[in-house]
Symmetry: C2
Subunit: 237 residues, 2 copies
């Protein structure tokens, strides 16, 4: 049977053998939720950047630039990291250059070895599970975390995804077993548990409660987001 | 209010500010459980060693040497890493030199900066909680993990300890919030969840099911184990 492992932070990714596996990148608040919202709302594709400067330079090449640092829109950027900014097709047909604190780091750290990189979010949980299930490869869920540490929202998503894949995949590590169980304990009301999370508190201080709520909406989209080594775009089931 | 944080692996300890905090070292299967069993059964003190060779050399100095690698007794060592070996005062009054795969690494990584290092196990959970509660310092629970990764048994202990300290300490990180909740979901039957854990399976392959059972016994002892920078010995409440 195919296997699922979960890596709680990019700081631990060297302990995992990624080679040939499908890696699901998770940064619920808000990078991966924003990417899925953008693609579902008609954005052509997204190029992720680790550095603010490289990302900023893409504006001249006709890209809409989206940059976030410490939860805020980076100076001089049209967009920050809000999934809501893309609603109603506002950026339909546009190309986006995006840089975020933790999310793009996770992509950087896995892009060399992974078979495929898939963008995970609650917004497209079920479709993402179906997509992974249609593939033969083992899965590593890579949580972006917060400055190298575990975070609650990415971890709960990992548990939710493992729970959705149960029966077709084995949870082959303690991390996945723990998070699947944690998610199943709270699946009726994950927002309540997440209201305790440090990142939720940080974001609420930035007055982006609407973003948090949006990022936790289950299965709003049936869009699959993959990173092909160069750009993030829609793939079909 | 005093704070509790949890670090899931020695690989992440550089992300935490240990300075002046009380650090609880956790290696449920089996180093810290064995240390508490040894002290509760009359062992005078324990010196932890990172290297097998340094530990072995202590035999000449009158120590009983205990060494474990990959779950097995290290070659030439009188004892491995079984808490049961110390029952019935078999090593009463003896000095032990001990080296284990993950547990002593966790002690090494925190001994410079911690205010105090406390040895955590299910065997003395309640007494350990009372001891920590009698102190003014914030707490960091440092899980030994398994080869740098998260493991279920150390994590569940962290959740159990945080749950026991609720009301007197704030869970100041997402890790602690998640593990406290996971423990509370399973507190009636942690053995059932742990039967899924990878380390349980590994140890069962080594025919040490009795050790596993013993390590998960709640509050068998009211012994407090502390590391004073040189040796692990009993402290009083």
């Amino acid at each position: 049977m195919r296997k699922i492992e979960t890596c709680l932070s990019p700081e631990l990714i060297h302990l995992y053998n990624i080679k040939g596996k499908n890696v699901v990148i998770v940064d619920i608040f808000r990078a991966t939720s924003t990417m899925i919202s953008a693609l579902a709302n008609g954005v052509s594709y997204i190029i992720p950047f680790y550095s603010l400067e490289e990302c900023r330079a893409m504006e001249e090449k006709g890209f809409i630039i989206a940059g976030e640092r410490e939860g805020k829109t980076a100076e001089g950027f049209e967009l920050g990291n809000s999934p809501i900014a893309f609603l109603n097709g506002k950026y339909k047909g546009e190309k986006i250059a995006m840089t975020t604190t933790n999310g793009t780091l996770a992509i950087e750290k896995s892009k060399t070895d992974a078979n495929q990189i898939i963008i995970g979010s609650f917004l497209n949980l079920e479709t993402t599970a179906n997509y992974l299930n249609s593939k033969e490869e083992d899965i590593i869920i890579l949580c972006a975390g917060w400055k190298g540490k575990f975070n609650l929202e990415d971890s709960l998503f990992a548990g939710a995804l493992a729970s959705n894949l149960k029966g077709n995949f084995i949870s082959d590590c303690d991390t996945t077993i723990a998070l699947e169980s944690l998610y199943e304990c709270h699946s009726e009301n994950i927002k309540k548990l997440l209201s305790l999370a440090s990142h939720t508190k940080r974001l609420q201080n930035e007055n982006i409660a609407a973003d948090i709520d949006f990022c936790l909406t289950l299965n709003l989209y049936s869009t699959i987001g993959v990173f092909n080594g160069e750009m993030i775009k829609i793939d079909q089931l």
